[in-house]
Symmetry: C2
Subunit: 258 residues, 2 copies
């Protein structure tokens, strides 16, 4: 069965794109068939992989507007088996909402359900703000990975975000489960980072969902996009690469349990 | 005259909220009358200042929905002269768009123009994604401060954001000027941070707008929200406090030149 995972948090800059790309690459390295989707109009994932110039019509905005089928938006990356659906910068995230014929919230889920998708994992990189685009991916997905930077502002935004997820589960997508809460950019040199990690572990509604894996702060992770590559290709023995491979293994071990 | 400044960038996690609060406090310390507004439904600014429980009806969402006047949403902070307009977490950023009677893009600007606002500075903390809420603040403001983290993903998102600003200038708000581009979280210990700062300085469409001030990475800046205070009260002699005071002075020196 194909696991559809949204990487989402309403807090900005917490490693949603970094997690989507590097987790995708680590799952691919472990032999899984993986499709990653850029769901954020700012297009970080698309420009990271060097797809900016060449997407043409084959991108997620045109799928959401009902102009092309989901499978026609898929690009194969040259150097790995990863498949990618990019986004066109020009996509104004609201045009398709106003123009949607029936209910816009379920349009992507319905479109995806009408195709045989031979993937083990489909991972959506979600936008920060809670808006129709984000809702659309949270309805199309069955699971959510929630990156939380170990800083107080990120923690403060994550609690209300969990409430939003419950609202989605109670209304539009009863299947929506939390695959895990992922502490990211953990910096063992600062007391603040350690304090926030402790708070996460002590909060019952967080600790029960937390992955065993922690993504440590690692400057190698900021360098991947400079070379249009994932951490597995730019710095395979870095702590960033190790952490994302450990996360992939932990996620693979979840298979069959959900 | 009152300067209305939006602190905005479509990239998430680049210090928009941190800049709004600490710049606001530094301008207040320099004797200016300052109002800061939480324009992001995730409510980082509101929870940072400990206003979560007590906003009641007096918040920006009800102003945008046309339920209360702008001046009725203003709260005075206990310990400083800063005035604040918080946001209600429950504000769904789209409800007011669908319900707006005339054109939603200009509703906040029109509402603000109908009141005498005795401030030297009104600063809007903007949401990350480019959506109606962000457009509304970019139309209500006359100037934009653009924080850019000295990392490649932030730089990559800032270029298309500048194009969006030009679109706003050409359509909804001909007055909109760039007050400055602010390098933030600069970490002199990493080559990557230095490389990105160099790229910013070498790009003509960026360097001409860059502030002389750079906000250095400083863990003290992450700790302010733990105590519901600005950096000027929690660590007045830290590099974070010095940098935001330098920024305030640079912005004050711009007065009269615009
Ligand atoms: N573990 C890490 N160590 C060091 N830097 C990291 C790590 N993870 C992400 N980063 C860097 O932090 C910044 C934010 O990450 P990223 O852009 O992936 O977050 P995001 O949640 O996708 O942001 P947005 O809200 O804009 O979509 C980027 O510059 C990225 O390179
Ligand atoms: N100069 C700095 N040095 C160290 N940490 C910083 C600095 N500026 C901001 N931070 C921290 O970086 C994180 C992101 O900052 P902040 O939340 O202000 O960004 P934002 O752009 O408002 O994010 P969002 O897109 O979610 O609104 C926060 O945890 C904040 O404490
Ligand atoms: Mg992203
Ligand atoms: Mg913010």
């Amino acid at each position: 069965a194909c696991r559809r995972i949204a990487v989402a948090n309403q807090k900005g800059g917490v490693g949603k794109t970094t997690t989507t790309i590097n987790l995708g690459a680590a799952l691919d390295k472990a032999g899984k068939r993986v499709l990653i989707v850029d769901g954020d109009p700012q297009g970080s994932l698309t420009s990271w992989l060097g797809l900016n110039g060449g997407v043409g019509d084959r991108e997620i905005g045109r799928v959401l507007s009902g102009l092309i089928p989901f499978v026609d938006a898929i690009h194969q990356l040259e150097e790995s088996n990863l498949h990618v659906i990019p986004i066109d910068h020009a996509m104004n995230d609201l045009k398709w909402v106003f123009e949607a014929k029936e209910s816009w919230e379920t349009s992507l889920r319905k479109e995806m359900n009408s195709w045989p998708l031979n993937y083990d994992y489909i991972i959506f990189d979600c936008p920060a703000s809670y808006n129709p685009l984000l809702v659309n991916f949270l309805v199309a997905a069955d699971e959510v990975v929630i990156p939380v930077q170990t800083e107080i502002l990120s923690l403060n935004s994550t609690i209300p975000f969990l409430e939003r997820l419950s609202e989605i589960r109670n209304t539009l997508n009863p299947n929506l489960k939390i695959a895990g809460i992922l502490p990211v950019m953990f910096d063992s040199r600062t007391r603040h980072s350690q304090e926030i990690l402790n708070r996460m572990r002590e909060a019952p509604n967080l600790s029960k969902f937390m992955f065993a894996t922690i993504i440590r702060k690692n400057v190698r992770l900021t360098e991947g996009p400079m070379r249009f590559r994932t951490i597995l290709r730019t710095s395979p023995s870095s702590s960033g690469a190790m952490d994302y491979m450990a996360l992939a293994e932990e996620i693979i071990r979840q298979e069959g349990k959900t």
